[in-house]
């Protein structure tokens, strides 16, 4: 697996739109992201179609903020993020929305989330006719990951998808990610080195913003 450690001294400057890098779904150039204040960066990377790219870093470094920056829900403080206007994103946050009462069969849940661009793998089939609120936490999390992967999105953003999963579930999650048929590129965040090694084509190591 290729690995890149991408961090440099901080710099100031406004985010500016620019021409999209050929062959890349998204490309970040010296990107600094955060909220009121910068949290992470500068960082440069790109994600090509079909790639599974993992973002690694210690807890609290701002990995989720970087994902939100790509999704457009965190602020770009400096650098440039190129993203096609037609790019279709799927985004799963660190805590998938799970209500105490969710009267949806698994297949209804997937249908309402437009996750019909690929057939669910056999190992998920047993959950499709059960109410999603009666699935275990791990089963529900895997179903939400599949909902993103099968949504037809060009780029799927997953925030800590292996959290709270047992080893067998991590293995199934890895299989889902390593099976390229039926899903677009993936940019995911994890603090689990072994999972990133097994599931991703490339890994980006990120560090907190330093002024």
């Amino acid at each position: 697996m290729a690995e890149a450690t991408l961090n440099a001294a901080g710099r100031t400057g406004a985010a500016a739109p620019g021409p999209r890098e050929p062959g890349m779904l998204v490309a970040a150039h010296d990107l600094v992201v955060g909220y009121e204040r910068p949290v992470l960066g500068p960082v440069s990377f790109g994600v090509a179609p079909g790639e599974v790219v993992g973002i690694w870093g210690p807890n609290g470094v701002g990995k989720s903020t970087l994902l939100k920056g790509v999704a457009g829900t965190a602020r770009v403080h400096a650098g440039r993020l190129e993203r096609s206007a037609e790019l279709r994103l799927a985004y799963q946050g660190q805590q998938p929305v799970r209500l105490a009462e969710m009267p949806f069969r698994g297949r209804e849940y997937l249908a309402y989330l437009d996750a019909q661009h690929a057939e669910p793998p056999a190992r998920l089939a047993g959950w499709l006719d059960r109410r999603v609120d009666r699935l275990s936490g791990g089963q529900f999390q895997l179903l939400t990951v599949w909902a993103c992967l099968a949504s037809g999105a060009d780029l799927v953003l997953l925030d800590e998808p292996s959290n709270n999963l047992d080893p067998q579930s991590v293995e199934l999650l890895t299989d889902l990610l390593r099976t390229p048929e039926g899903h677009g590129a993936v940019l995911l965040v994890s603090h689990e080195w072994a999972f990133l090694d097994a599931a991703c084509d490339r890994r980006l190591e990120v560090s907190p913003w330093t002024p």
Partner: protein, 268 residues
């Protein structure tokens, strides 16, 4: 009186039909409100509708027009202020309650009108109420498949809209306006608490026992309609006020369904 005459007497056909439309459709909107954890919306908008209807009647505007207008303005303000959640609806309850009682105290016949609004004035429902409810039901049933898809996706993947630059405010506003219209028309026919109970109780029971979403919607609508017909019959047969009988009937029907032994294991 003969209980069956409640269904056959031409005098009661329009009220029966108007209430039946509200009883079948309000639980559908209530299910989506429950999914959004905004079920208090039903009570908030009903209070605003009651206050608006009373103000309208004081000015000579029919309740069937002024109630939905007031509730619609409240729903639109809430959307544009980005005031999601139950806090905005709690404010509506307090505002509507306060306005209704103040207007009742300062309007000719206000007290009896306010009483009718809270208890329901189903037996006085005519073509304006039935026409309004049929129009509301037609719009709701036409829009719901499209709207529901987007609302459910927004509920479970809240970042999806912003990440893809979707104009989400349009469908959130459309839904808020539908709820406002439904609660206002419901309040004008089956009363404030009756309309709230129709939007709250059937979804509550359906969410507990239904094996899936489509089943939950059908069960909620079925419970709403069934309890309404029972209440209509009982109120006529025993000469009781309709609103409280409807709420009592809904409590009994939905309570029995929600607590029925075996449902939970079957739906698992």
């Amino acid at each position: 009186m003969d209980p069956l005459s409640a269904f056959t007497d031409p005098l009661f056909r329009l009220p029966l039909a108007a209430g039946a439309v509200a009883a079948a459709v309000l639980p559908l909107l209530g299910a989506l409100l429950r999914l959004r954890e905004e079920w208090l919306a039903a009570l908030g908008l009903a209070h605003i509708a009651a206050g608006g209807a009373l103000a309208g009647m004081g000015l000579g505007v029919p309740a069937v027009a002024s109630g939905p207008a007031a509730a619609g303005v409240a729903a639109a303000l809430k959307t544009f202020a980005a005031a999601r959640g139950n806090t905005a609806y709690a404010v509506m309850i307090l505002l509507g309650w306060s306005a209704t009682l103040v207007l009742a105290a300062n309007t000719p016949l206000g007290e009896s009108l306010a009483h009718a609004m809270v208890d329901g004035q189903l037996y006085f429902a005519g073509w304006p109420e039935l026409g309004g409810l049929l129009g509301f039901a037609a719009v709701t049933l036409a829009a719901l498949p499209w709207l529901m898809h987007r609302l459910i996706r927004a509920r479970f993947f809240p970042e999806h809209e912003r990440a893809n630059g979707l104009p989400a405010w349009r469908w959130h506003l459309a839904f808020d306006l539908l709820v406002a219209a439904g609660m206002a028309l419901g309040t004008a026919t089956v009363g404030l608490m009756g309309a709230f109970a129709l939007a709250f109780l059937p979804p509550w029971a359906a969410f507990r026992v239904a094996p899936g979403w489509r089943a939950a919607l059908m069960l909620a609508a079925g419970m709403g309609l069934g309890a309404y017909l029972l209440a209509f019959l009982a109120a006529m047969a025993w000469d009781q006020p309709f609103g409280p009988i409807l709420v009592g009937g809904l409590l009994a029907v939905t309570g029995a369904v929600a607590m029925a032994p075996g449902w939970q294991s079957r739906s698992g």
